[in-house]
Symmetry: none
């Protein structure tokens, strides 16, 4: 697939990166149904680690099998498939060259309720060895352990860049220093996205923000400068702007499983606000296979729009 003008423009915003890193960003952007459009739909499957197997896979038992997700991502025409070490190792050789892979380098289980801080469960060299096109990492701004995660990803990003691997940061505000209603507040989401960008992320993933402003100091600013936050489109636009004025790729998670109409409505809001795409796990793999493929294609149709 030839690289489009839009992809070239996006790559031009990463001028400090070596050709290897640019090549892998291009691979993410050029693959699948949305290849060349500058939009992405990624299938992430880390819920087995994060939520446990039954909660993740019982709704659609073939999804217990690691092969299942590779094939789903390929058949649906996704740009990439992201998962922890175990799931990737289980089938990376079998599907070699068929879809760009993202190795999620840290993960957190929920057996114990602790201050949120993921464990580093994979290495950059694992990603290289498995033929991945990027590394993934989760940070929890608002956690007392946030600095630990910021310092880990700093080190991993530097190493990954030296191997030509871009970094995808999942930035989820969460922790004992943040009330529940702050986690998806528009000011907090935009702040979390900015932190990921400043840490050197090439791609940022956040949740679609809600119409809440959480921080006192931010409230004053939103009011004074009349930053609109009423519609999802408004809020997405603010988050995109907070990602270096749109010069960093920012995609939005689908969150918990919901109805098809709700999913597609949200995707339209993301598109209209200038978001770069979606990363959609449970809404995909917890549906029966044909429904999942159908939904993902419908999502892509909206982005192609």
């Amino acid at each position: 697939m030839k690289t489009s003008e839009r992809v070239r423009q996006i790559l031009s915003w990463y001028p400090s990166d070596n050709p290897g890193t640019l090549t892998n960003i291009a691979r993410l952007l050029n693959h699948g149904t949305l290849g060349g459009t500058g939009k992405l739909v990624i299938l992430p499957v880390d819920q087995g680690f994060e939520h446990g197997p039954a909660r993740s896979f019982a709704p659609n038992p073939p999804a217990y099998d690691p092969d299942y997700h590779f094939q789903l991502a390929i058949d649906a025409g996704c740009n990439a498939y992201a998962a922890p070490l175990g799931f990737l190792e289980a089938a990376a050789a079998k599907f070699a060259g068929q879809i760009p892979l993202i190795l999620k380098l840290n993960n957190s289980d929920t057996l114990a309720k602790l201050e949120p801080c993921s464990a580093v469960t994979g290495s950059v060299r694992d990603a290289v060895r498995l033929g991945c096109s990027a590394i993934g990492f989760t940070i929890y701004p608002g956690s007392s352990a946030r600095n630990t995660m910021y310092e880990e990803i700093r080190e991993l990003t530097e190493e990954a860049k030296s191997y030509g691997l871009p970094t995808v940061i999942w930035s989820y505000p969460r922790g004992s220093n943040l009330a529940k209603d702050g986690e998806q507040a528009v000011d907090v989401t935009a702040y979390a996205a900015q932190i990921a960008c400043q840490l050197g992320a090439h791609v940022v993933k956040v949740k679609p923000p809600k119409d809440v402003i959480y921080q006192e100091e931010a409230k004053k600013v939103f009011e004074k400068y009349q930053i609109p936050t009423k519609t999802l489109t408004d809020r997405i636009r603010h988050v995109v702007q907070s990602c270096f004025n749109g010069k960093r790729i920012v995609i939005f998670s689908g969150g918990e499983a919901k109805g098809t109409d709700a999913v597609l409505e949200e995707v339209k809001g993301i598109r209209d606000g200038g978001g770069y795409g979606s990363i959609m796990g449970r809404n995909a793999f917890q549906r029966p296979r044909q429904d999942a493929v159908k939904l993902l294609r419908a999502v892509m149709d909206i982005y192609k729009g």
Copy 2:
């Protein structure tokens, strides 16, 4: 630009440093409108990480874009531009060779209210790779985590010096062991500056001190030896003296955004007290571009005297 007598004198005060480090100190001192005068005006933009995007950039939305700040620093004739990893990576190649860069190696977000301790978010090798002329680092004397920061910067400074990179320390007294009114007290500010110098900083940045003496033991000394603290000029003089009798470069932050007259008045006080210059972020980039350039030039005019 040829190196002036004044710059040569300043360099002579760093006799233990290798020629690479001296070369980069000279680059900071020789660049821009104030090049050769021995004075500096630096543009720092770390507020996206430290305060969040809307609070930082909504007052002047073009500032969401990382290119904006490079261009502002260049056009205003600043000596250098300082920012975290993400902002520098986004445009360092595009503006290569146009302005000395300072990579801020640690940063702290304010989503959670915790004992102040910045996370290390960049490496010395990042600074080398990006063509920077110095590293920057924040310490919080008064924080329970101060020793962690002192030990981090000790290690980073040693590494940086081996690569010919000088160190700029932002020294901000803050933390649960220090009352609010102590943070900018003149004795505390001078002490914070001294600590930075003893840690091996080549350039120290503190806030302009207020006419308060915070520590009991210091109060006795200030009284006994009649150290004047009434005017800003008096207090700057004491801080400069506390920086190895003026043999370490000490510059002053502009603090929160304020009116032009207030900014310029403060700068005159800094100049008259023998300060080496200003590091001015929000007062610059939160103004419309033309106003910012105008203000920075007015500041430089004062230093040029």
Copy 3:
């Protein structure tokens, strides 16, 4: 592009390689006009180093420009482009993600007439940094320095595999221990191909063999077992068989510039003998651009059969 049954079969013959290496072999096989057919046409441009600039580029002066060859390989629909460090560095970022790259890690100039032994002029980490999909290396069986080269590639291959990079070996019998007419003899060519395979090459490149049997001991065997060598197709078949019974990819160089008919005739022979494809330099880039594209497409048409 989806991975075909044929590509899957080829990949199955490299079961000891990690998924990264398989992914990069798949990238070579899945890219361009021949993507998915299991056939390859590669553009190699190392003649500037090997023969000098005028001999290489004067016939078609735009070819002095490193960008030219990237664009030619892309427009002609080649599977990959191979070149030494300088040529790749000059444009790898500009064409990032548009065509798989092979970094030729050793090269030999012809200013001095010495026993053939290429200098190592690039590293595996260079290949990683530039986003390459493979490394390339030349060995000269028959040279007194052959063991030096065998040992160098052994080390480089091991390192490359750890980064997921396959190895392409150019195997050219040559040197003071081999008469001129032995260099392209069918027994010698097959032997050279076997050596490359045994050294761990994933892809082998040899010259199309001539109807000569050079070694005394080989002559007896070819006669005894009536191995046919009369037609190019016969000889290619023997070489393919010598590459682990066809389980290693073996491609054939075009050699010095010649007429279009001669080129295409040869390609048909390669195809009919089961060769995996062609690596065609001077016959491509020394022609005017449109002719080169036309010729390469004609070659691909033959392989697509």
Copy 4:
């Protein structure tokens, strides 16, 4: 200066050290007015870091300048000058070869009142690079963080010895586990000196002990064996004995600034008890320069006795 019999004897008590370390101990013992006598007077200036600049230098403002202290130590004929990184770096090249230097590797500020634990603010490699003859380090027996400091100095001492650098340990009992009146008790001081010796120090620095016995168990022993503690000379003798029966160099700090007679009286007590000398900071540099030189010479006259 030739090494005297006495210095030879002292060196003989460090038989496990390499010749580099012995050479540096000899440098300390052979330099200055007391060279060859086996006695030492050292100028330490770490108060800028430990107490703040005004408290340290306002009584004698030229002392704000790092050059001042080098020159004072040289002119007064001291054996060595000890300071933190910043002060040494500021002038080590200028005064190279004129006086042995001791780099104080850890320091503690007093802006926050926390459990005493110095930060490591310099490295052994810094000491090597600056041409120092020893490293210095403070431990606070009695602090909850004592083990951290013991483990740090253990590691640093091992590294320093490998580079031929002896270690000077400042051993100051202090912390939440020790009442104020215990800090200079004779039993506690002797115990602190012993700990430093057992940690591998070549030179130990303690405060002159007071006629107090702090520990219950110690009290019984002092009484039973009638260890005299009434005069300073008695108590010094006990401390010297506690330093491996006098086979480790132990010197005494001057403590806070006081009158000349009081200083000299104390020094006589140290001499008569067999102490190796004094380390005298504030009593020297807080006096006007001529008075300081005069005082230090008077101290040396007593030791030369």
Copy 5:
């Protein structure tokens, strides 16, 4: 000095390099009288090592002093000063920040007449420590030891790039495999330049070529394609084209000392053929100081044209 459009264009031809390397190329191009024009005049002084002191410096004895050459390069407005380790170490701190430095990493003496192969006499870390803006290295195509030099510079270039230092290659065809009249033949010079470019050089230095074609195979090509070689301008143009169609900086040495008119005539030819500038040693420093400054300025005037 602001970066001109021309400098930006030149930098755009090094898209695989990190911002640090681009910054240092910009420093070379932006400094001195020719700053911003895209042209360079560099002062190289390695003749003390290469030819011996009397042959080098007796014609102008102040040139025995290392300071002399720094000051000459600064006063004449050169873009950079290049020398071996000893000469740079002798004054790099004194002239820190006044002129970009190039550390020549290998050098060859002529006390013994051996097959030409320079010794590596400096390291990349030396260049970093001394604040250099580039490394320099000599290769001798035509020498039996050429591969040794190619492999050394490959390794040094990779290391230098990681520190943001560009590479200048002196490419001098020479050795027992090349007749004397081949050393400056136009085909050989162009070939030597191409080899340097393929090895990853950012700047190439060759001698001005003579109207001789040395290689048999090249002769045929020059004739067939009627490549003009009669005037120096013709020949320079061919060399520039051989440097990646002018996308690598190629400068020309002045060679042995000669009259002012001859020097200036040659420089005009270099300029008219599109050469990037001159590197002029003996013709500069063997003249009396005022004459040297005058000559270098006259050379720069021609390039400013």
